[in-house]
């Protein structure tokens, strides 16, 4: 909860700097400090849950862990990316994604906490699947954030709005490069996750009543995978270049989040197969992240 509030405050600062680019104040340093605190705080919680709570070698034992991992990596990546002069102004678009992930982390820990059914799954393939999917989502979030900023700047350029803030913002060329790089990273990791997921599925016959949900999950995952395949090759698939690529990056993230939402909220919708929290996890399950 504290991290979420911190990220909302960082977002407020980023919006202020976007609207008042001439104002020279300490907001940049404060915002960087906040992002570092969020990143380190989320990483600290992740490691705490891994070592002190689960007691297993697998770090991802629930959806909360995945969200914490995404938040930590994303915050630190944003901290690095926003320090690049070519990508100025990115924080205003990155921090809301971070807030969303953290807020979801709060919900997933306080109200919908469900540990993954790890003992029934192949441990290595399951770990690869989860790591690939969550880390891939981190890349997808980065691409979506760059896509949002791309659309904002392009809309301003098309509207021929005043340039008073443009000196502070990244160029469309830089943002397109970031979208492609982040999508490539996301694509590679999602591919890994998808392949590992298919191996798990082939190993574990599904009950008939669950098959429908898995077909839906698989279809959406393949669709998201195809989207990123398109985005990373947008310089060759020229008709998708520019605004369309930005929208695809955003839609891809939305799709991934939808898949997570479906899997977490459904009664037996995936590895989070309804096992009850362990005695060690039970008190923590009620603690918002």
């Amino acid at each position: 909860m504290i991290l979420t509030l911190l990220s909302l405050a960082a977002w407020g600062l980023a919006i202020h700097r976007l609207r008042h680019p001439q104002a020279v104040d300490r907001s940049t340093a404060v915002q960087r400090g906040m992002l570092a605190a969020i990143g380190l705080g989320a990483a600290g919680l992740f490691f705490y849950r891994w070592w002190a709570v689960h007691g297993r070698w697998q770090p991802l034992a629930s959806h909360v862990d995945g969200l914490l991992l995404i938040a930590a990596l994303f915050a630190l990546t944003v901290l690095y990316v926003t320090s690049r002069p070519k990508l100025a102004g990115l924080a205003a678009f990155a921090v809301p994604v971070l807030s969303l992930v953290l807020a979801w982390g709060v919900c997933a820990s306080a109200w919908t906490y469900k540990p993954f059914d790890l003992p029934t799954l192949h441990p290595v393939w399951n770990a690869v699947h989860l790591a690939g999917v969550y880390l891939g989502t981190c890349g997808a979030a980065l691409a979506a954030m760059a896509g949002g900023m791309f659309l904002y700047i392009q809309a301003r350029l098309k509207r021929k709005a005043g340039l008073e803030s443009f000196g502070q913002l990244a160029s469309l060329e830089s943002l397109e490069g970031l979208i492609i790089r982040a999508a490539t990273l996301g694509f590679a990791l999602l591919t890994l996750g998808l392949v590992a997921g298919l191996v798990i599925l082939s190993d574990r016959p599904l009950p008939v009543e669950e098959r429908g949900w898995f077909v839906l999950k698989l279809s959406l995952a393949v669709l998201a995978w195809l989207m990123y395949a398109l985005v990373m090759n947008v310089r060759h698939a020229a008709s998708f270049r520019g605004r369309r690529a930005a929208w695809l990056a955003i839609a891809g993230l939305a799709l991934l989040l939808t898949i997570y939402g479906l899997m977490v909220s459904l009664p037996r919708g995936g590895p989070a197969a309804g096992s009850e929290p362990t005695a060690q996890e039970a008190p923590l399950a009620k603690e918002p992240v």
């Binding site: 001439q22 020279v24 443009f166 000196g167 160029s171 310089r235």
Partner: protein, 476 residues
């Protein structure tokens, strides 16, 4: 010391005169040396840019150079007849007005393009050059350092230099929002008119990889390419028939033809954009009537700006600068007043010291005379107790005499009254204003730092310090 400014600028003198008086960087040291040779007691800084040539001088109150002498000096610098530098076309400011002018110049408030930032660097270089030539003393040190500091503060506080005010720079700013790097980009100029040339010149400033010029007349295109210094493979002229191919290669297009019909229509550009594989295309249409169909702007990854769009943004920037200029003036007024107060306090401090020295010299002479008379009356050797009594009496008398005029100085209601009183004291006691050459023994920076510390004291504090110092000197 009296601060005098004489010069010309874009408001007062035509360009013919300005360009004759504009001194090249390597000519200025000789001019400053000549100034020092002619007026050794004066400090000077010469600011010479394309829009102004101004000479700032600080001199002792009753010593040369006068404003007329400075005009003659400037005329000599530009090798022009002194009558050409009539007072009507030259500017002449003294004291606070001169300082205020310098502060405004540093902030870009007196520039042709309001708030332009280059002038700050030019003033700094002029000041540093004068320092290197050894013609800057404590007064101009203080004035220029404070002017530069105030200008930086004003720019930070108000952002007067922010935003673009020229069409060319606005276009470049828009282009920068689309492209990160221009070194792999190709610019295409369509038309060979003056407007197109000016815009192309501006874009050459961002160092594109290539710049092609296409015109209906290949000769005119070649002439323009030559005047821009374009040679293959970095660019050059291409025939009109090559236009479509040139558009496919281009990333930025500047059009400025005299055509009555649009040169680039939506129908023409759409297939070309496919051939370009939808790379971003930035088009600046500065022609009237327009060369580019407005529908072109709706194409994906095409960013179209016409002259009105650019002027609107430039006007917006100028409007913002005008609003900020008012804030700047308010801040500058207080900064100038503070600077003048410090200079005046420094002058008053010197005056008080001189006055004390003068009176104590007189007192010492009279004390020696009285002592000799007393010895001859007593007919014996000098009595140390009597000598001490006599010295104390002289000191007390001088201090009582000085008390009233010094307290008047301290209580002066305004800077003008303070100046008037100081001038009266100088005149009545025949005190000279200390020239720069007599004070500049150490390095100018040291002198300035020393003066800064001293001038922060009030006249009465200064007088008290001087009093004790001179007492120690005479008694020792």
């Amino acid at each position: 010391m009296r601060i005098v400014l004489v010069g010309i600028n874009h408001r007062t003198a035509p360009v013919e005169l300005r360009e004759r008086l504009a001194l090249a960087q390597d000519e200025r040291p000789a001019v400053l040396d000549e100034l020092r040779r002619r007026y050794p007691s004066a400090e000077g800084v010469l600011l010479s840019t394309c829009n102004r040539t101004e000479l700032y001088v600080a001199r002792p109150v009753h010593e040369p150079p006068s404003a007329d002498e400075l005009r003659h000096f400037l005329a000599w610098c530009g090798r022009i007849d002194p009558p050409d530098l009539l007072s009507a076309i030259s500017i002449h400011r003294e004291q606070e007005q001169a300082v205020h002018h310098l502060f405004r110049v540093c902030c870009g408030l007196d520039s042709l393009v309001l708030g332009e930032p280059q002038i700050l660097g030019q003033v700094k270089r002029a000041y540093e050059q004068a320092v290197n030539q050894g013609v800057v003393g404590p007064v101009l040190h203080r004035v220029f350092q404070q002017a530069l500091a105030a200008a930086k503060q004003v720019r930070t506080r108000t952002g007067i230099g922010a935003g673009r005010v020229s069409v060319g720079s606005v276009a470049v700013d828009f282009a920068r929002q689309v492209f990160e790097d221009f070194t792999d980009k190709t610019v295409l100029g369509i038309g060979a008119g003056e407007m197109a040339k000016a815009a192309m010149k501006h874009l050459l400033g961002v160092s594109p990889q290539r710049l092609w010029v296409v015109s209906r007349s290949l000769d005119r295109a070649a002439a323009l390419a030559q005047s821009l210094g374009l040679t293959a493979p970095q660019g050059g002229a291409r025939p009109w028939e090559d236009l479509d191919q040139a558009i496919v290669e281009a990333d930025i297009i500047i059009t400025g033809t005299g055509s009555r019909e649009p040169v680039l229509s939506h129908e023409r550009l759409k297939p070309l954009q496919k051939q370009r594989r939808n790379r971003p295309l930035f088009i600046i249409d500065i022609a009237v009537p327009r060369d580019v169909d407005p529908q072109v702007g709706s194409l994906n990854n095409v960013y179209l700006y016409n002259i009105d769009d650019l002027i609107a943004v430039a006007d917006q920037g100028l409007q913002q600068r005008r609003q900020q200029a008012q804030q700047c003036e308010t801040y500058l007024n207080s900064a100038v007043a503070e600077c003048m107060r410090q200079i005046q306090h420094r002058d008053i401090g010197r005056l008080v010291r001189q006055l004390r020295q003068r009176l104590h010299e007189l007192g010492r002479l009279e004390q020696q005379r009285t002592s000799r008379k007393l010895q001859s009356l007593a007919g014996g050797p000098s009595n140390p107790a009597m000598e001490a009594l006599l010295e104390e009496h002289t000191h007390r008398l001088i201090n009582k005499i000085l008390h009233l005029p010094l307290s008047q100085l301290d209580r002066a209601p305004s800077a003008a009254a303070l100046g008037f009183h100081a001038a009266a004291l100088r005149k009545l006691f025949a005190l000279e204003d200390t020239p720069f050459s007599a004070t500049a023994n150490g390095s100018p920076a040291d002198e300035s730092a020393d003066q800064t510390q001293r001038c922060d004291d009030s006249p009465s504090d200064q007088a008290a310090a001087d009093s004790s110092a001179s007492r120690g000197q005479t008694s020792g």
